[in-house]
């Protein structure tokens, strides 16, 4: 019983990080059809934000704010200087743009900061465990779950209660109509990137809380997973991204727990193989994005 609950906590905390990242990808994709390869570099920037904050001995909560701020600024800068000039390109062109941006940013990190991991000091309490009756939950997974939940609630409120948020949801449905209503396209797109950056920043904090360091390639693996999560959920669908993120997290934890030892090195292959089965069953994802298909 204990182990099962333990694994559920792990699955939710890991799935939460994937969900935040996939949501960040989906927010941008739903509006400008960009599959943003450079999303991982936003995480890395956030990580360096924490590193610099710690270097000037700011307390941890400020380091978290710095991480989110850095990622938002980086997202806005890539939008302004890389993606906006390419707005006329098709989806493939945009994807390749982000591919190039990601490669360039990595080289900049390697030369401008360091190719080696930089330590990010974490509050000493992070190593602790909380006892909830039968359940021993690590502080970090618990924080992950709480942060993920808060972020999702905040984003939902933003999208449903504010004018800008409503404009963004409308943009995801039909961007052309929204422009006809007199909403400024650049502003909606910039906000989408800012939201996506903020989500990447929060995910970076949670990711670093587990490993305590940041390096130029840090964002690569989690964002690969987030791509997969976004596709399982349905590319461009916001609820789908969250569902896909949790589905992937659960799958990974399940395979980790139940695969025989000999097969463990192949875990990701099994997980992705299973994902491919899901996609054969539902090619448009679990919760497909609304697509107005008139011929």
């Amino acid at each position: 019983m204990d182990i099962v609950l333990q694994q559920i906590v792990n699955a939710i905390s890991l799935g939460g990080i994937y969900a935040l990242l996939a949501l960040g990808l989906a927010v941008v994709f739903s509006i400008v059809s960009l599959i943003n390869f450079a999303h991982g570099e936003l995480m890395t920037v956030a990580g360096y934000g924490m590193f610099f904050a710690a270097a000037v001995s700011l307390p941890f909560p400020f380091a978290v704010c710095a991480a989110v701020l850095f990622a938002v600024i980086a997202a806005l800068l890539t939008e302004r200087f890389a993606f906006r000039p390419m707005r006329k390109a098709d989806a493939t062109g945009l994807l390749l743009t982000s591919f190039a941006v990601s490669a360039i940013l990595r080289v900049i990190f390697q030369n401008g900061i360091s190719a080696r991991p930089k330590p990010v000091p974490l509050p000493s309490g992070f190593a602790g465990v909380i006892d909830l009756g039968v359940l021993h939950v690590g502080i970090v997974p618990l924080l992950s779950i709480v942060m993920t939940a808060l972020s999702l609630v905040a984003l939902t409120l933003f999208l449903n209660r504010t004018t800008l948020g409503k404009a963004m949801r409308a943009a995801a449905e039909d961007f052309q109509v929204l422009r006809l209503m007199g909403i400024k396209a650049n502003r909606v797109i910039a906000v989408a990137f800012a939201v996506s950056g903020a989500l990447a920043g929060i995910a970076a904090v949670l990711w670093i809380a587990q490993r305590g360091s940041v390096d130029p390639l840090m964002g690569f693996v989690p964002v690969l997973k987030a791509f997969v999560a976004a596709v399982i959920g349905g590319l461009g669908s916001l609820t789908g991204a969250v569902a896909g993120g949790f589905a992937l997290g659960i799958l990974e934890v399940l395979f980790q727990a139940f695969l025989p030892d000999a097969a463990l090195p192949f875990r990701d292959a099994f997980v992705l193989g299973f994902v491919i089965l899901i996609l054969i069953w539902r090619p448009d994802g679990l919760i497909p994005a609304p697509a107005a298909r008139r011929s």
Binding site: A100, V231, L279, P283
Partner: protein, 598 residues
């Protein structure tokens, strides 16, 4: 029928020019820089082959693949295990299963096995991939990259895991690399002109229109993917044999980034572009690699930048997408634009000789979206040799009904019967082949293909050989008055010509029925008159039933033998134009009555 029959001569000449160019450059570099030069040339030739393997799928289908580098890895490891000398194998791979031990195959024998493995891998992985939409498919290839990478690292007994795999005989000389590059240039260039290449490119330009022209998009993508993957696995084997020692990370992200950058910078729509981009970036990377450790000008030292080649390729990629989205060479293949051997259009008599048969029947079609009834028990039939007009105000359900007839949507209830065959819920390309040609309200052409290619694709769907299909296409172009523009790109056509080209394409399917979705939309009265003449000639010359959906009352009243009127998902009237004109229900639906104006 050989796959290369019907390939235009200019394809052969451009391929030969590219081979000569690549060979000449390789020779020059080898002569100029000695042993280093030979190495550089060999690597560049392998990169040409690898990029063309990628282009065979990505260029034709428009779906960028990030998985190809990993499939190259499969080739390298399979080749390594098969070709490795017995004694080295015993120490490097002590746990190798018995059946793989000690083969020590020759280059050719090992490559044959590798190609077979590549085909199997390509066929299997193509199934899930072909089901995904373009954006998701790109991510799907990324999943392949990770799956294969993880598997190569995990399969320690075969691959030594993430450790270096060594002892692979270095059989890839510069000559072998040149043969591979030359062969792949030829294959890639010819593939583009084969029926498979035409179908892949059509689906790239417009997936819905391709299906409506009878192209099985998924099947085409599966075939294209399998060919492309087999090529990749083969070149991977040669690359492995060139390196001699490698590890899984040599076939991971950096490699695919390089290949994709090379493909895009030159232009992925042409083979010439793919080759030019590869040669250009291979040169740039060589120079940047020299500079990576820093440069000394006497006492003055420029510090090195780690990752300079990646930086250079990234910037080249950005610059290309920004300034030349189609790549350096755009849409043109190099070489003289020789006119192809003149083909006589198929004589009109030979076309469409099928006897007038059963009608197209819409039987009790009901469509519900959740609680909304979009179509409620609609029935009518479209007889052969007659024009049936379908009208209705906005929101009447016309588009939904068209989508159901064409197989894009499966109805909740009811059947669609085309010429006696039940086609309910069949895929659009099957419906097209079964005898329903169509045009689209917002014209859908294959813009970056010639008019002749546009129409030929539809003719090929009726299982004609390439030459016959082209003759049929020429005849249809002539019928619509477009014969002089056969070799022009469809994207360059003016509005009225685009409409006519779309009709020509639909007719090349030799359909029993032709569905025209608002053919006069956006036309001025003169153009509409011209269209009416065309439609009337089609009707008199073909054994064909027309279903015309239209807002233009003048056109539809003049053209139709019978009319069907939809309103709010229900059929409210059916009859001759005269009957419809006087039907109070129709007048109410269109103009409204005092009572219905709240």
């Amino acid at each position: 029928m050989l796959p290369w029959t019907g390939v235009p001569p200019r394809a052969w000449t451009s391929a030969l020019l590219l081979i000569a160019g690549v060979g000449g450059l390789a020779l020059a570099v080898s002569l100029a820089f000695g042993n280093t030069g030979v190495n550089i040339a060999t690597l560049a030739l392998l990169q040409v082959a690898a990029v063309l393997a990628l282009a065979a799928f990505s260029g034709n289908s428009g779906i960028v693949s990030f998985g190809h580098s990993a499939f190259m890895g499969i080739g390298a490891y399979v080749f390594g295990v098969l070709a490795m000398p017995r004694d080295i194998q015993a120490s490097a791979l002590p746990n190798l299963p018995q059946w793989l031990q000690g083969h020590q195959l020759s280059l050719v024998a090992a490559l044959l096995v590798v190609v077979a493995v590549g085909l199997v891998a390509g066929i299997l992985s193509g199934f899930p991939l072909a089901r995904l939409s373009t954006g998701s498919a790109a991510i799907g290839t990324l999943a392949f990259l990770i799956i294969i990478h993880v598997t190569l690292i995990g399969a320690r007994d075969f691959t030594r895991g993430s450790q270096t795999f060594y002892g692979v005989p270095r059989l890839t000389t510069v000559y072998v690399a040149f043969v591979a590059a030359a062969l792949f240039i030829l294959i890639a260039r010819i593939l583009k002109e084969t029926p498979l290449g035409l179908r892949l490119r059509a689906a790239r330009e417009n997936e819905v229109a391709a299906a409506a022209s009878g192209v099985d998009v998924r099947l085409s993508r599966r075939k294209g993917w399998a060919v492309s993957i087999a090529m990749s696995v083969l070149v991977g084997a040669l690359y492995g044999s060139f390196l001699g020692a490698f590890s899984p990370k040599d076939f991971y992200f950096d490699l695919i980034f390089t290949l994709v950058a090379m493909l895009i910078v030159g232009g992925m729509l042409t083979v010439s572009g793919a080759v030019a981009g590869t040669v250009l970036l291979a040169g740039v990377v060589q120079i940047l690699r020299q500079a990576e450790t820093g440069i000394d000008f006497g006492s003055f030292h420029i510090p090195g930048i780690f990752g300079l080649p990646q930086l250079g390729m990234g910037l080249a990629l950005l610059l290309t997408i920004w300034r030349r989205p189609l790549g350096l060479l755009g849409l043109r293949e190099i070489g003289p634009d020789w006119p192809r051997r003149k083909l006589e259009p198929m004589p009109a008599k030979a076309l469409h000789t099928a006897p007038a048969g059963a009608p197209l029947e819409v039987a009790n079609i009901t469509m519900r979206f959740g609680g909304l009834v979009a179509l409620d028990d609609i029935s009518f039939s479209v007889p052969c040799r007659q024009v049936t007009g379908l009208i209705g105000p906005n929101g009447a359900g016309k588009t939904t009904l068209i989508n159901i007839i064409c197989g894009q949507t499966r109805p909740t209830l009811g059947r669609i019967v085309i010429g006696g065959a039940d086609m309910t819920g069949e895929a659009p390309h099957r419906v097209a082949v079964a005898g329903l040609g169509r045009t689209f309200q917002n014209i859908r052409l294959f813009d970056r293909m010639t008019a002749l290619e546009n129409v030929t694709i539809a003719a090929l769907s009726k299982s004609h050989d390439a030459a016959t299909a082209r003759r049929i296409a020429l005849a249809e172009l002539a019928r619509l008055g477009l014969a002089g523009r056969a070799e022009d790109l469809a994207g360059s056509f003016a509005y009225g010509d685009r409409r006519r080209l779309e009709i020509a394409r639909a007719l090349a399917l030799e359909p029993k029925f032709l569905l025209l979705d608002e053919p006069a939309a956006g036309m001025n009265p003169a153009e509409t008159d011209a269209l009416i003449r065309v439609l009337e000639s089609i009707r008199s010359e073909h054994e064909i039933g027309l279903l015309v959906v239209e807002h233009d009352m003048r056109l539809i009243m003049r053209l139709s033998d019978r009319m069907v009127v939809l309103n709010k998902g229900q059929k409210i009237a059916e009859g001759t134009p005269q009957e419809i004109r006087g039907d109070p229900k129709v007048i109410e639906a269109y103009i409204g009555t005092k009572r219905s104006r709240h």
